[in-house]
């Protein structure tokens, strides 16, 4: 496994404008895009860490388990320092036995504690998916509401770089299908902090999908985020950039690609609205409907497989809504290619959406050259 620290992205312009910051960001190297002396920043990794830390401090029932989470400080260092602070009773290293420890997390959640179960990556959660869905997702219903299951399953989801087919899958639509689960997908530090804290407080099983390639990315640390009660509502999307000509809906890392594409399109006079889904289940279709009624065009972006993906679901829900009548062109789905992830870079590049893919599709949908 990699313990790579990536810092692919600086602060996006739109993120800055959201914050009302009057700054211009020269489009230099990625690293130079954000000048950390001007405002406080926080990486996604640090935001996740502080979310766990604050919730563990506030609620003694919260504990965390997973592979390499304690003594190694986390395979990707998300749980750094927590063993020192909370000790081995609350930060628990497990063997490499996903089905077993996911089941133990569910069992513990059924009976009075609030486990956070880290998967080193969600690829390995496939070993445990029965416990997540059949035990975690259904017990409350099967018990007629008698046995709640306040568990959080979290870890990196989706493609990392150059790790081939078995380590590169996006599970958003898999978990998004399951009644009884809530599912969020994290893009930036604000999402990380607010959604993870919300997930830990939620009385239901919540899947928190993170992205390894975003862990090292810095975002502004706002005053609001510093509050120990900073939670984001699960089920609400965020308009990451306002626009009027077309709506781009994305989650996780592709939100950045969408923002970058929107930036490029703006130079050509095309105003794209970018929606960061944040929540996969429940899906905030109302925000998308509202946006489509304004822009009359919709593009969805995800890294997962196209078949039965998030784009498929969003398209269908739009068809079922009044937004359908507002569409001036068919919805366009951008997704991962329908192949297991190849290792070779040139093939991998063709398997995942980029800023360029989005840029071109937007122009195709709008029928502009």
């Amino acid at each position: 496994m990699a313990f790579r620290i990536s810092s692919s992205f600086g602060l996006s312009r739109s993120a800055a404008s959201r914050l009302g910051m009057r700054m211009t960001f020269p489009r230099l190297s990625m690293a130079a895009r954000y000048n950390s002396t001007t405002t406080e920043t926080i990486t996604v990794r640090e935001a996740l860490n502080s979310a766990i830390d604050e919730e563990m401090e506030a609620d003694p029932k919260v504990w965390l388990l997973g592979e390499e989470v304690a003594q190694y400080n986390g395979a990707y260092k998300v749980t750094k320092g927590l063993l020192d602070k909370y000790g081995p009773d609350r930060i628990v290293d497990t063997p490499i036995t996903e089905m077993g420890f996911a089941g133990i997390a569910v069992g513990a959640a059924l009976s009075g504690t609030k486990p956070i179960c880290e998967f080193m990556t969600f690829n390995f959660a496939m070993q445990a998916i029965d416990q997540i869905i059949n035990s975690g997702g259904k017990t409350y219903y099967m018990s007629g509401g008698q046995v709640p299951c306040p568990v959080v399953f979290r870890g990196p989801n989706g493609a990392a770089a150059g790790v081939a087919a078995q380590h590169s899958q996006d599970y958003a639509s898999w978990y998004g299908q399951i009644p009884g689960l809530k599912v969020v997908s994290i893009f930036d530090a604000e999402d990380a902090k607010g959604l993870l804290k919300a997930a830990i407080r939620d009385p239901n099983p919540v899947i928190v999908l993170e992205n390894e390639l975003m862990y090292g990315t810095s975002f502004p640390l706002t005053e609001a985020m510093k509050s120990k009660d900073f939670v984001l509502p699960i089920g609400k999307a965020k308009i990451a950039r306002e626009g009027k000509d077309i709506t781009i809906v994305a989650h996780s890392r592709p939100v950045q690609f969408s923002l970058d594409a929107a930036e490029k399109l703006a130079k050509e006079g095309i105003s794209a609205e970018v929606i960061n889904l944040r929540s996969i289940r429940p899906l905030d279709i109302d925000t998308i409907i509202k946006s489509v009624k304004k822009t009359n065009h919709l593009v969805t972006v995800e890294q997962g497989f196209p078949v039965c993906g998030m784009g498929s679901e969003i398209s269908a829900q739009i068809m079922e809504s009044e937004a359908f009548d507002y569409l001036d062109a068919p919805v366009c789905r951008i997704a991962g290619a329908d192949v297991p992830m190849p290792y070779a870079r040139n093939l991998e590049d063709l398997s995942l959406p980029t800023e360029e893919t989005i840029y071109k599709q937007v122009k195709r949908v709008l029928n502009v050259q």
């Binding site: 496994m1 077993g100 070993q127 380590h167 070779a344 040139n346 959406p353």
Partner: protein, 402 residues
Amino acid sequence: MFRPVSSLASTLARTSKTTALFGSKSAIRGFASASLPLRNAGSVSFTLPEDTFEGYNIDTPSREVTLTNEEAINMYTELQRVRRLEMAADASYKSKLIRGFCHLCIGQEAVPVGIEFAISKEDAVITSYRCHGFTYTRGGTPHEILAELMGRHTGISKGKGGSMHMFTPNFFGGNGIVGAQVPLGAGIAFSQKYLGKNACTINLYGDGAANQGQVFETYNMAKLWNLPVIFVCENNKYGMGTAASRAAANSEYHTRCEYIPGIKANGMDILAVRRAIEYAREHCLFGKGPIILELSTYRYGGHSMSDPGTTYRTREEVQHMRSTRDPISSFKMRLIESGVATEEQIKSIDKDAKKMVDQALAQAKQDPEPPISDLFNHVYAPGTEVPSLRGRVPEETHYFNQ
């Protein structure tokens, strides 16, 4: 794929005598405690140290090992080639020619090489992502392996699998999900039995993987159905950053199934590995069903390229293993002390191994990437594809049979 040295060696291995394999305790001959090698007429005998094997519900193999000089030289050559190959991978990764995960077996070379010298090409092998050594011993060339690591079209998986996913005939990978290869290995043994083959499966997994539930499910079915499978726990003392004893309630991995016999062997000693596998293979081919081997070994490097491998163990520990247990130096000493090879001969083998790998590396670097048209190949068998596979956007959809 033609490699004169190893194919000769495996022929020799196949015809070597394995009669004294069972009931070792009574088989100790005159020079039992002497570790001095005996040498005559082109062959050499060694007595392995007393602590080489431990048995669980089975006698340990004989510690007397005789091999021809040629075999001994071939074994050494293969050990050195595997190490050179891994060193080339290490350097290439550091110069960014290799991406993603890359798990090296430096320190553990006696495992793949020792196994290969105990089995036939008909036997099957399956392992985890730490697979470069096995890919080589199972017939992959250094060029095919390095080209795969660099994502080239000439790679052993055509650039599609990368470091963790390499295959050759009767080598079933190269598997990325910890422990998931273990049931597969038993399935391979099932087919071998079903098809009446005189062959068995070497089913390798790490000390970390040994805790996965499916390993125990597989023990049960393998015994229930008497499958010809040798479970081999490659115990390199750590699963990523977790010491074996922190993950296993019982870290004597050869004793973890009360109804399957087990042997623990020194996995840093190629002769011990070979002898243990010969013994286990005999057991399987005799129709006695599965057996568990634990090979104690050690990885010198980090878990993967991004793990420095120094936060959960001391530098002294690594240094100590390198200087006292190294599978290559110790075998080299044996060859020199027994007069099988001179220092000069060894040096020239080392040089040749390096040259072989350097040439392979140079070639791999020049090779092309896979063609773009390969993206949609190999999702399904040719002629039986689904009608189309979608790309990222509708225009990138690939249609078959058109």
